[in-house]
Symmetry: C2
Subunit: 460 residues, 2 copies
């Protein structure tokens, strides 16, 4: 440990846990993307807000780049440290600090996992309703950094809706206590909102006050097979009108082929172009009758070809597996992934255009689409053909991103629905945000982080 | 019209409607506060985004201060033009631009009234759920500028939750199209959120895409009489747990005295320190039984002294009038008003401390409290004693604000829950926001409005 800057940091914080072993540098230096070779200066594991603040001040004094680090489950390279940065891991700051029964808030340190937040909420008979598959590994700080969404957005919105307050060390080293749990607070710019989704470029979230809510009523799960995208939109309209939806997820026949090959159980005989897994409130017989009536109406109109309603919790889980198992079933094919959004009404035209474009330009690619129709959020996975060399595949996928970005721009969409821009999508930010917006974002970043120590090179 | 700057503006925009008559200057130069003498340079009434952009560019070229202006129903002086500013009124830009049935959004020009938004939403079988008494006069642009709340926040949140996209002319003259109606969009800083609640200091909102939702189920209205503040919090806890609340509003015996004297009908015999008007979902008999059981439980525990449940729509309206009629009933007394918030759990201690403080320092003041318990939002009204001269009353009330600010600071509250800071609360911003936060806000403002043309002197 001969680096003079690190020696000075240890002088400031003799009790700071600091890792410099090669295995640690590799482990903490990368996220779920695998495109960059980790090369951090060191890993700092602070145990208190004071330590985080001292690290940021040290970074400003020595112009050391900092990579704030949560569960590193990100898919955009936002937590990658490949340029000699200090990784600031919040993983030791993972405690529940307070529960307030009157305000229904849970205050947690930012390194806590989403799963631990769920557990702590359930212990009080309430829920924190943001949820997605990485729940066991991702941290709430990371969720805030990307305004994470997930599978219940149609009912509960994104992370943003559930943040009542944030403690942050800004890039300039100041401790900010933003909004402090208030419901109404019209006292100038809501810097809390600015921090949410800023990917660790404006400040390091050290503590968050989360809103909790009542558990949802009993629900029912249905799988539908659909003839085409227009039918899918019609079914969505009917179900949203007639039922209280908790989730409305679609996937294609190609996706089902992979998930079935990976061990999931077929629930509908025959093959159909599109499938939907939907979950909705089923409080009583009346709600169930409404669901069946909605389904029958869709069948009569030719919008639904077949359907299954879960008869047990086990069957509900089996139906959900058809959707939730897709990512895992694709993993062996080392897919190129992207996560984009358009307005709901723009989904069919956008999807058709992209499907035609990909079929024409890359007929050899196996392309898997799935996602959250109710949020206009589509996930695309392109599987690597066995015959194609890695480098060639990556290069072709880079071109797929370019096609996606151009098409999204025309449809008014976003190149990142919920994963963030990070390193992976930096070159495509202009497809979603105008030059004027990016110039303002640069200015804002300069205000919060005048020495550019926080996650340099990420986002823009 | 000899002002050279105005002549140049007319040269740029020959068709711009521009008013300079004294009556117009007075009408458009002030809001519902009456503390400043209007003295604008002129009133511009643009009819298009292009005209607004040209005006902002002209203002930058000539360093003319602009006061963006909606319905001017604000209570913080945010729309006051008393320093030779150009008032930029959006009142001619008041059209509905588009309705999207799939995305359930309504796109409107920012000068439209809240009432017109409600009407347009109802025409499509949906609602825009933000609502408050100034609905017929206030504009959606003004609502966005202060992140307006109102009487349904406990169910639907503030204006912020319902803004899917904004078109804005930033202070630097750039047209920004922020978020464009997307539900998920993690592509850098959410400048839309920064704009909401910025009181016309960062940009002028010219168009907004609003989310709509289903109308609420049938509801029921109940009036409760309560012995003390602790009981009120207990009743709130029980009702929130057992019912699906749409509103939970409290007022004091002093407030009731005024509203009864103003023509409202007494619904509960006898006098009690606190009253609550609550509205909740009442879909079926079961919901009504739950409401009655919750009420009886509160009576048994000694938390509720008496109660009335509306037996008709007319009675529901009569019960609501006891709460909604307060402001009008106080108007003849020319009250000093303030609008503050604390966390819900902090309401009883804060309120008790303020009541004791005011009783000690200003025993001659008639102080009326009412507000939204579920939001931690309290409105204080101090009535001018007849014997007190105007100037002396204003001076004493300025000191009340100081006491409020100090007490709020200790309880972690906000000096402005939903009215904004404007001119009225500028001196007290430090009670809610730290020096570090205010420094960052100044920096952000400088980025958006480098020449300081937008609402100078407002907010900070």
């Amino acid at each position: 440990m001969t680096d003079a800057r690190l020696a000075e940091l240890i002088g400031r914080l003799p009790n700071l846990r600091l890792l410099t072993e090669p295995g640690d540098l590799e482990h903490y230096g990368r996220d779920w993307t695998r495109r960059w070779t980790p090369a951090p200066l060191a890993i700092a594991l602070p145990a208190s807000i004071d330590e985080v603040q001292a690290i940021i001040r040290w970074a400003n004094a020595h112009h050391v780049a900092i990579v704030p680090s949560g569960g590193r489950t990100g898919l955009s390279g936002g937590a990658v440290a490949a340029q000699g940065e200090l990784v600031l891991s919040l993983e030791r700051m993972n405690r529940v600090m307070a529960f307030d029964a009157v305000d229904r808030t849970l205050t947690v340190q930012s390194g806590i996992t989403l799963q631990a937040v769920h557990d702590a909420s359930h212990a009080h008979g309430l829920i924190y309703p943001v949820d997605f598959a990485a729940r066991g590994s991702c941290s709430i700080g990371g969720n805030i950094a990307t305004n994470a969404g997930g599978i219940r957005v149609i009912r509960y919105g994104n992370t943003r809706e559930w943040i009542a307050g944030l403690k942050v060390i800004a890039g300039n080293g100041e401790l900010l206590e933003l909004n402090r749990g208030l419901i109404k607070n019209s006292s100038g710019y809501d810097l809390r909102q600015l921090m949410i989704g800023s990917e660790g470029t404006l400040g390091v979230v050290v503590e968050a006050t989360l809103r909790l809510t009542d558990p949802p009523p009993p629900s029912q799960v249905m799988l539908l097979a659909l003839p085409d995208m227009d039918a899918l939109m019609q079914v969505f309209a009917v179900f949203r009108e007639k039922l209280s939806l908790q989730a409305f997820e679609f996937f294609t026949d190609v996706a089902q082929r992979h998930v079935l090959a990976h061990g999931a159980q077929r629930a509908i005989d025959g093959d159909y172009p599109y499938y939907v897994v939907t979950e909705f409130d089923a409080i009583d017989e009346q709600a169930m009758e409404a669901a069946l009536a909605a389904f029958e109406h869709c069948v009569e109109q030719g919008w639904a070809s077949d359907g299954v309603i879960a008869q047990s919790e086990a069957q509900a889980a089996a139906l959900w597996r058809l959707r939730e198992g897709i990512t895992e079933s694709l993993a062996p094919h080392r897919p190129y992934k992207n996560d984009i959004s358009v307005r709901i009404a723009a989904v069919p035209a956008f999807l058709q255009e992209m499907q035609e474009l990909l079929a024409r330009e890359y007929p050899h690619f196996d392309v898997v689409w799935f996602g959250h129709i109710g949020d206009g959020n589509l996930h695309i996975n392109v599987l690597k053909p066995d015959a194609l060399a890695d480098a060639e595949f990556i290069s072709q996928c880079e071109h797929v991103t370019k096609l996606l970005a151009e098409t999204l721009h025309r449809h008014g969409g976003s190149i990142s629905a919920e994963h963030g821009i990070g390193l992976v999508k930096r070159a495509y930010l202009e497809s979603t945000r105008s030059a004027a917006e990016i110039a303002l974002m640069r200015g804002v970043r300069q205000v919060f982080d005048p020495n550019g120590v926080l996650n340099p090179g990420k986002l823009f």
